[in-house]
Symmetry: C3
Subunit: 296 residues, 3 copies
């Protein structure tokens, strides 16, 4: 699984339902000895660990791979590295790479490749866990209003989520510094000011300020961002009664969100992380079943 | 478990006895699927590997965590990192961090946290393995004379050990460069010159010269330290017949101890490492049993 | 197992046959709880992962060891590090180190040590997988002509392979830049020009240009090397009908070999990697059986 675009809404729904079943206690263990490996060429705590735990819960053997000590340091291409891992007998890989659509060069790889995030492009497993978290709360997507605040253009989370939510019948609003938005960023939704948006939405998705992705220096400080676009206590009070707060984390406390709100009643930030393991179990199980592996 | 201070002597004795039982062949395997992770934000071979093996021997699933590739590089706080690991379904963590009393900021973490060493403060699992090694030798603590030589003030090992030994009825002596000692360092024992101390003690604990912790340059060379305060062959010959040598390692050979003495008959250096696995098994088992987990 | 020199041809043949049996589906699981660890002090994807998977297939518990976060950074010697790992209860280690014959200082280590590569010296497990790949193809070694092209002097692969092949009855030819050859490099074979060699051999082993090992700057560019000594499409067409191509990888595509030939019909590059797991299973099984461990 590489992008949300390639998935039918039917398939998205099937994965979300399987993930919800895992969240409610369903278990699945693979039959036979099956190896997987997580090739993360970019820093990550939560995504890598989340996949790792999902794999172990499914009964897979997780073969460690340390990008910083690997032969990519000797100039080996991603293709040759993955082909090597495949030749060594690994049956499935999860890959995160800085390069947009790195997976385009992996056509000749025969084992399933799960996209753990590519450049500023896609992050389908994060999307699945977000969808699952919304469904868990509201039991539907149709008619929900979802606001996404932050650097939508550079966020692989925002892109995947906005597309999926629109296709599933939700209405998507965006907000954040206007200079971060252009036509491309607004394909799947409408721009509103933060203070307009906050009254409307059932789901408020805050994006991380991606310091490490901005080429030019930001034109405002962290505290200015918080005041202008962040979730302050005042804005939180203006939210609808049943509305929830989401954030893909890691959070910049006091920037995207007031630090006291991170664990407030309507925050689903840590719930999202819990759900991530279940969403990834569903994704991996689906990929392996397509290859003929069975689970008990 | 964070510090020795928080442990009653009864509890210390219970853990030491359990560790000794493991050393003599007792086994314990946890029931059900239980995940743990070792979050080491400071270099360590022996402590991290020792915990890892202890966890595997208890039947836990060890989820890898690589601090250098984690989101702490994106500025995430320790609290948010640990809360993340907890949310992902990890049931117990061991933490080592450069910061003294890092655990004070982890009050809202619900899973057990085992202290694998904090700053210059505490190292309770090392203390347990040292106590266990002494008990294994002498069958008691009461009345034993224990000498600790080195930079007591900056050693988390020395602090924990001296306090525990004093409370268990042993008499503690210190030695090393006088400028390293002040009132704080001498709470749990008495200062003697190395050559006085060497004749007295049943247990000689050498501390590692912590090059990496001294802010100011040391006022003497490695060979000067060896001559003035180290365990030379001459000093070893002056020890009591049954006395043993301990060192938490890694050893600076030829500094704290003559290289030929590292594996001499009265050295328990590698025995301490063996015991470390058993001590950590006892600590983790206790922590998990308190949470309601059972072992068979 | 440290070097090929120490192995009798009978023992080499026994290991190769065991590895071939694993390749054909034989399985072996160790009885009891046995721990191993891979201490790699040099970058490696394929060798480390290959050992890791071999160990897991044999039912061993693989204890992670991260050289870059280990106490060798505090100046600990290799001996003390390995002795530590042994004391912690690890039952077998695989070591790769930059230092030639690092194993000479490990005489007092009691657990089996498998050499995963030492400096420019030896790489016996790579040799075993290469031998196995040749045997799989031709069913014999006696009378085969094997050409090794590249920096034989600095290649631990070439040294081990040439010696083993000569002892097993094959005829070895070398080629590559003449300045890379001296008497020492030609002990086990004869120098030919690449274009002479290409017509003769049943097995063409290409070596990796070891940029990272050459002290002086290379006197030619990558594309010059390819033209003068590399496997171009023209040279490939001049090979014997049944001849195969081997390369220990990672490959410098377009240098040692034309990129289109990496996965051509006579290439065994990825087959070698597959075989690596089976060869390492055979090596580890032999080492543990010698210590009295049993497999089912």
């Amino acid at each position: 699984m590489f992008t949300i675009t390639e998935l039918s809404t039917e398939r998205i729904n099937r994965i979300v339902q399987e993930a919800l079943a895992f969240a409610e206690g369903k278990t699945a263990k693979i039959e036979g000895e099956v190896f997987c490996s997580n090739l993360f060429f970019e820093d990550s705590t939560r995504t890598k660990t989340s996949f790792d735990i999902a794999e172990r819960k499914l009964g897979l053997q997780v073969v460690p791979f340390d990008a910083s000590n690997s032969s990519v340091n000797k100039g080996e291409s991603l293709y040759d590295t993955v082909k090597t891992i495949e030749s060594l007998g690994v049956n499935l890989v999860v890959i995160r790479d800085k390069k947009d659509r790195y997976f385009d060069e992996l056509k000749n790889v025969k084992i399933p490749v799960i996209n753990g995030g590519d450049g500023t492009g896609n992050h389908p497993s994060q999307c699945m866990l977000d969808l699952m978290t919304i469904y868990q709360e509201f039991g539907k997507f149709e008619g929900l209003k979802v606001g996404i605040v932050g650097d939508v253009k550079h966020s692989r989370v925002a892109n995947s989520n906005a597309e999926a939510l629109r296709r599933l019948g939700a209405k998507v609003y965006f907000s954040g510094p206007e200079q971060w938005f252009d036509e491309g960023a607004l394909i799947n939704g409408t721009y509103l000011s933060v203070d307009e948006l906050i009254h409307e939405v059932d789901v408020l998705m805050l994006l991380r300020i991606q310091h490490e992705r901005h080429d030019a220096k930001m034109s405002f400080s962290a505290s200015e961002y918080h005041k202008k676009y962040g979730l302050t206590k005042e804005r939180e009070r203006a939210m609808k009664k049943e509305a929830i707060i989401m954030h893909p984390a890691p959070i910049n406390r006091g920037v995207e969100i007031d630090t006291d709100l991170v664990e407030c009643e309507r925050s689903r930030v840590f719930r999202q992380m819990q759900n991530g393991v279940f969403a990834r179990m569903a994704i991996i199980k689906e990929a392996l079943e397509k290859e003929g592996y069975t689970f008990k």
